[in-house]
């Protein structure tokens, strides 16, 4: 059934677009308050050390310094997961990575704060440090966290079906180790927080705390601030200004958010901290570098019989979302294809590096790279078309997968068909010129987690709507707009349900004092969950308006149609002169009402003087008797007169049957709906240099229903682009736990020059539970890009790269090995076609001789002295 929508499904510019493009929009760092101080954080220079002494006296004496905060100002631990409360805003006893937070100076200006950092004296006792997860797992002593033996944050061992039997039945088995190196979000806006504590004017004691922060999760921030500062949540207000990109990097509480509040409390003045880009890299929470030992068995016809994966994630020094990440890596082996037998062993390991966390495609991306690459290998071995082998392993929804994931809408077959068709796959694959190739891969992602981080029966999203006599619709939502279009989506759904123009809708979002709880913008949950809550709230309000309007119009509620800023009696819609016909809405096709239209309408209804006349207008209407049509404003006024007020609320909690199985770790992976993606990438490979150029990516994505196609396309293109970054150029380079490229010059996100043409193809499977059938569209496409490129490289030049990114040196090393060319050590001793371990940057970190005076803490020197 196709439904005739007036706002849903239309190409609508983001409601905050002009503010952002004109520079008028305010991000956190744009804000300032009278008397505001600048906060700067002292970071650990050592990867693992005990703090023996910290002396801030000299710094405090510096002119312009107001206070120096240290760990003892707020020693409570916190963490985004209830099982992972292992962080402190500022270190108390130990530092665990280069960049760990030690102290914070609040000063009158940034230069003074920077100078003061140099005056803080910290004495460290260095501890052995762990940089490689497989080595860290063998450790018995000097553990990173005392309660985590062998530095294992968490390990899971899942068996579904009978994998051994599955492999025994297989005609072919492929087995290999894959390595995906570490990447980070690289959002344009660095993290920034402004915290201000009201001082009670009567008692002089600290009162309410207000925090403006670049966050994806205002509610969680409010919660963690409450824990660490020991303040009731009701005394803390979190406001999210515009956010310049999150991608997961702002989906948990980042140290500066709490540190700014601590400093504000200590100084009794507003304090703003904005990270440098280097600090953003230290705060990190990106995608961990991952070892994937993968084994796949298939029958001769390509049907998968069993999959076994052992995944080791180098999680960094703190838990962060780690437990969830390692579970997603296993759980989302399911729900894409029909896999009857799965064995999964996942290890989340602690190392002395910045903490990894959630990043676009959370947990699924690296495993998907391995899986889709291996499936490609098997297809080649079986001489089955790689597109066909994927079609032979489709699920048959509605169904529940072997690992307990409920799948209802499933647009994967259509996604595959569309990219095959659009790319000319059937007549071009394998027939391109030398060095040019096509590769296909698929991926999927959750539309929000069915189980929230904090286990409770709390709804995941609640939305309030209030309409007043002015006819303005105000939607209050805790959902966090981070550039993905959350506010626009909310406005569109409210306007569609209420039949009003988009310009009537004002979205008040992500302010914990004003907006009801929403658990935030992560795991692609907002459209599905906050969208459903908005839908329900709007329907509740609509019901109230309909009751009053039906009475006025002397008809049944069911006969009313809300559309084009009016309420119509559907039975007599075509009679009655002067009624704006439904077929000719005055708004433009982007769903905004035109200014001319409201004038026309005003003259039609005899309303010229505005709202003041409404009472008499009402009177007039009453005298005129029943009507076939009321303007939206008239209907609203009638409803307020009838009910006394006009407000509605809606909330969303995932249905119990979507919440997964009962085994340990079953909570992560289930979602009310999954998005699906298939992609074909076309590349050329320069066989002398190893350089890979991606020419085009055809990306089909099943988003249920595209509420705003232009926004969906933007998300698909962005996902492909970000995936291409991880495939070709982006890599955090490490040397003994020191990040060698903590900046956007040396951490290379693709520039516009190497950005390929991306053809986004929207597939609509109309999910039975999504708002208007919608599912997620922001993350699911990323994971397919990496293996699509890997498979295209294989098609072009016949090399199978098992280590990402496919930098020119890795590609060339593989090409030379294939040709038996003279051996050159292009890749620090790691074979990119059969990687065994993570690569370290060359050179040496520590001095082996004398250093300048102020570098007395060099460990080599210390041994020398001892």
């Amino acid at each position: 059934m196709t439904k005739d929508f007036s706002i849903i499904g239309k190409r609508i510019a983001m409601v905050d677009a002009a503010g952002k493009t004109s520079g008028a929009g305010k991000y956190t760092d744009d804000l300032s308050l009278p008397g505001m101080l600048v906060g700067k954080i002292l970071h650990s220079p050592y990867p693992h050390a005990r703090m023996k002494r910290i002396d801030t006296t000299r710094a405090e004496k510096l002119d312009g310094v107001v206070a120096v905060a240290t760990g003892k100002d707020a020693p409570n631990t916190y963490g985004i997961l209830p099982v992972g409360h292992d962080e402190r805003a500022l270190a108390v006893d130990k530092v665990r990575y280069v960049g760990d937070n030690v102290a914070c100076v609040a000063a009158l200006d940034e230069a003074t704060a920077d100078r003061a950092l140099e005056l803080i004296d910290v004495e460290y006792e260095l501890l052995p440090a762990y940089f490689d997860p497989e080595k860290a797992m063998k450790a018995e002593t000097d553990l990173i966290h005392d309660n985590k033996p062998h530095n294992i944050e968490k390990d899971y061992h899942h068996v579904f079906g009978d994998p051994e039997k599955g492999f025994a039945e297989a005609d072919h088995v492929a087995e290999a180790r894959f390595i995906a190196n570490e990447v980070t979000h690289a959002a344009m806006e660095p993290h920034s927080t402004l915290a201000a504590l009201e001082i009670d004017s009567q008692t002089g004691k600290p009162g309410r705390l207000t925090v403006w922060s670049s966050t994806q999760v205002p509610y969680y921030l409010q919660h963690k601030l409450s824990l660490v500062l020991e303040m009731p949540m009701s005394q803390i207000r979190v406001i999210k200004p515009l956010v310049g990109g999150g991608f997961g990097g702002k989906s948990e509480v980042i140290p500066l958010e709490i540190i700014a509040a601590i400093a504000a409390r200590k100084t009794r003045a507003p304090v703003k901290i904005t990270y440098t880009r280097e600090e953003v890299f230290w705060a990190h929470r990106g995608r961990p570098r991952t070892i994937i030992d993968l084994k796949t068995g298939v029958k001769n016809d390509g049907r998968i019989t069993a999959v076994k994966a052992r995944v080791v994630q180098d999680g960094g020094a703190y838990c962060s979302y780690g437990v969830v990440t390692i579970l997603y890596s296993g759980a989302l082996l399911g729900a894409l294809y029909d896999i009857p037998n799965i064995q999964y062993d996942g290890y989340r390991v602690l190392t002395n590096k910045p903490a990894c966390g959630a990043m676009r495609g959370h947990g699924t991306v690296n495993v998907r790279f391995a899986f889709e690459s291996q499936l490609d290998e098997l297809a080649a071995k079986l001489e089955v078309d790689p597109a066909v082998i994927r079609r032979r392993n489709l699920l048959q929804p509605p169904c529940v997968t072997i690992n307990g994931l409920r799948v209802q809408s499933y647009g994967l077959p259509e996604c595959i068909d569309r990219v095959v068709e659009r790319s000319g796959w059937k007549h071009r694959k394998g027939k391109l010129t030398r060095g040019r190739g096509l590769g296909i891969a698929c991926s999927h992602y959750v539309s929000g987690a069915a189980n929230s981080i904090i286990r409770s029966d709390m709804p995941h999203s609640t939305v309030n709507i209030k309409i007043d006599r002015d006819g303005g619709v105000v939607v209050y939502t805790g959902a966090a707009e981070i550039g993905q279009g959350s506010d626009t989506m909310t406005a569109q759904i409210a306007a569609e349900v209420l039949g009003c123009s988009l310009s009537r809708v004002k979205v008040v979002a992500a302010d914990t004092d004003l907006t009801p709880i929403d658990i935030g913008s992560y795991s692609s949950r907002v459209t599905f969950m906050a969208g459903n809550a908005t839908l329900r709230a709007a329907e509740e309000v609509k019901k109230q308006i309909a009751l009053a309007a039906a009475k006025k119009m002397n008809c049944a509620v069911e006969e009313l149609v809300f559309r084009d800023d009016g309420v119509f009696n559907s039975k007599s819609i075509n009679v009655g002169a002067g009624v704006p016909p439904v077929q000719a809405p005055g708004g433009d096709e982007r769903g905004r009402s035109s200014p001319h239209r409201s004038q026309d309408q005003a003259s039609v209804s005899g309303r010229v003087e505005g709202q003041i006349l409404r009472g008499s207008l009402q009177q007039q209407r009453n005298e005129e008797g029943p009507k076939d049509f009321m303007t939206f404003e008239e209907a609203v006024v009638a409803a307020i007169d009838f009910h006394g007020a006009l407000a509605g609320t809606g909330s969303y909690a995932p249905p119990p049957e979507a919440r997964g199985g009962k085994f340990k770790g079953a909570g992560v992976g289930p979602s009310p709906a999954y998005s699906y993606s298939a992609q074909v990438a076309e590349v050329t490979v320069d066989e002398d240099t190893g350089e890979v150029i991606v020419h085009k990516v055809w990306a089909a994505h099943d988003c249920g229903r595209a509420l705003n196609p232009v926004s969906v396309e933007g998300q698909i293109i962005g996902s492909v682009w970000m995936g291409m970054g991880q495939a070709l150029t982006e890599e955090m380079v490490w040397k003994d736990g020191l990040l060698m490229n903590p900046g956007l010059l040396e951490y290379r996100s693709p520039s516009s020059v190497e950005s390929p043409e991306v053809e986004p193809i929207i597939v609509e499977s109309i999910d039975p539970e999504g708002p208007f059938g919608a599912k997620e569209c922001s993350e699911g496409s990323l994971a397919a890009t990496i293996p699509a490129i890997a498979n295209a490289i294989y098609d072009a030049v016949g090399i199978r790269l098992r280590e990402a990114p496919f930098t020119p040196e890795r590609v060339l090393a593989a090409l030379r090995a294939k040709k038996n060319a003279k051996l050159l050590d292009l890749t620090e001793g790691i074979d990119p076609t059969a990687p065994e371990r993570f690569r370290e940057h060359g050179g040496a970190l520590w001095f082996k001789g004398k250093g300048p005076e102020r570098h007395a803490s060099d460990p080599a020197r210390r041994t020398e002295q001892a």
Binding site: T729, E746, T807, D825, L826, L845, F847, H855
Partner: protein
């Protein structure tokens, strides 16, 4: 990251500039005056506290240093001429195409609008262990180039291997460019190839009281065919990880004169010794190009100063040189 505090000096003439330089430097030592033109090199480095000068001399108001002019000896390019101007100069494109091509590859269009030819010639050498914040360098341990006495890329070594990472000097070397330098003592001219020392730390022969005024391209190099090939990971923004410039003249299909220079693989841009001799009088073919590539690869001494491995960068010098030679010869 905040800039360290400094006093900005803004002279309007070369004379004023060099007298300011002469006055400031005597007592300042490590905190000697830094000269800023486009600022694309100096400003990020100052934020990282690689330089904390007491004075910064902004030369952008000195109109004498602007522009491209034809003279009797050839073509002069004022030090303040932006890389965008160099890139789009018809005169240079016609007579010295290797230079315009090299200029076109520098960083990104926005940076080329700011960056100048003088700044590109004087560009600080770069190293992954050096171009880092003060906090980072403290954590890692200071090196020879800044505050320390040892090298991370050549452990145990006492020489600095930071790589000279500008694009245009390789092209300028191929063109036998000279530079003119001013100081309060007067003017001096030097061939560009003698400007660089080959050391990563004190990489150029420019005294603290001296100012680079212009670069002079000799008439004898005009009309040379030229090609510049740059290794980088991204098609924009990146510094070169290896760069090759080739310029040659031909008569009757044979090479008459040729010069090849490398950048980003040594602490200085270097002319490949022996390349001219190998090429002179020959018709370039695959085999000869290969031999030149091998020669260039032996000249390159890349170390772990950047993200790509030294072995790969050296190999690319071989490949890029070969390709550049073939491209110039066949063009």
């Amino acid at each position: 990251m905040s800039l360290p505090q400094f006093k900005l000096l803004r002279p309007r003439t070369v004379e004023e500039a060099v007298s300011l330089l002469a006055k400031q430097n005597a007592s300042e030592g490590l905190r000697a005056t830094r000269i800023v033109a486009g600022g694309t090199d100096l400003i990020p480095s100052m934020q990282q506290k690689l330089f904390e000068p007491q004075h910064v001399l902004d030369i952008r108001r000195i109109s004498q240093l602007q522009g491209i002019r034809q003279t009797e000896e050839g073509t002069e390019i004022g030090a303040l001429t932006t890389l965008t101007e160099v890139e789009h100069s018809d005169l240079l494109q016609k007579n010295y195409p290797v230079l315009t091509e090299a200029a076109r590859t520098v960083a990104s269009p926005i940076l080329r609008n700011m960056g100048t030819i003088g700044g590109n010639i004087c560009l600080d050498t770069r190293c992954l262990w050096y171009n880092q914040s003060l906090t980072w360098r403290k954590s890692c341990g200071f090196c020879i180039k800044k505050d320390g006495d040892l090298c991370h890329v050549a452990p145990g070594g006492t020489k600095c291997w930071a790589a000279f990472s500008a694009d245009t000097p390789a092209a300028l070397l191929c063109l036998n460019a000279e530079i003119e330098i001013a100081s309060s003592a007067g003017f001096r001219r030097t061939p560009l190839r003698e400007f660089y020392t080959g050391l990563g730390d004190s990489y150029r022969k420019l005294a603290p009281n001296e100012l680079l005024m212009r670069v002079i391209l000799p008439r004898s190099s005009a009309g040379y065919r030229g090609v510049y090939r740059k290794l980088r990971i991204r098609g924009s923004i990146d510094y070169p990880l290896a760069g090759v410039a080739v310029a040659l003249s031909r008569s009757n299909g044979n090479v008459s004169e040729a010069r090849i220079a490398l950048t980003a693989v040594n602490p200085a841009p270097v002319l490949v010794k022996g390349a001219s001799e190998l090429l002179a009088g020959k018709i370039v073919d695959e085999e000869l190009a290969e031999a030149i590539g091998d020669l260039a690869a032996r000249t390159a001494k890349p170390l772990t100063t950047s993200a790509l491995t030294p072995e790969y960068r050296r190999e690319m010098i071989r490949v890029f040189t070969k390709r550049a030679v073939l491209a110039v010869a066949s063009g």
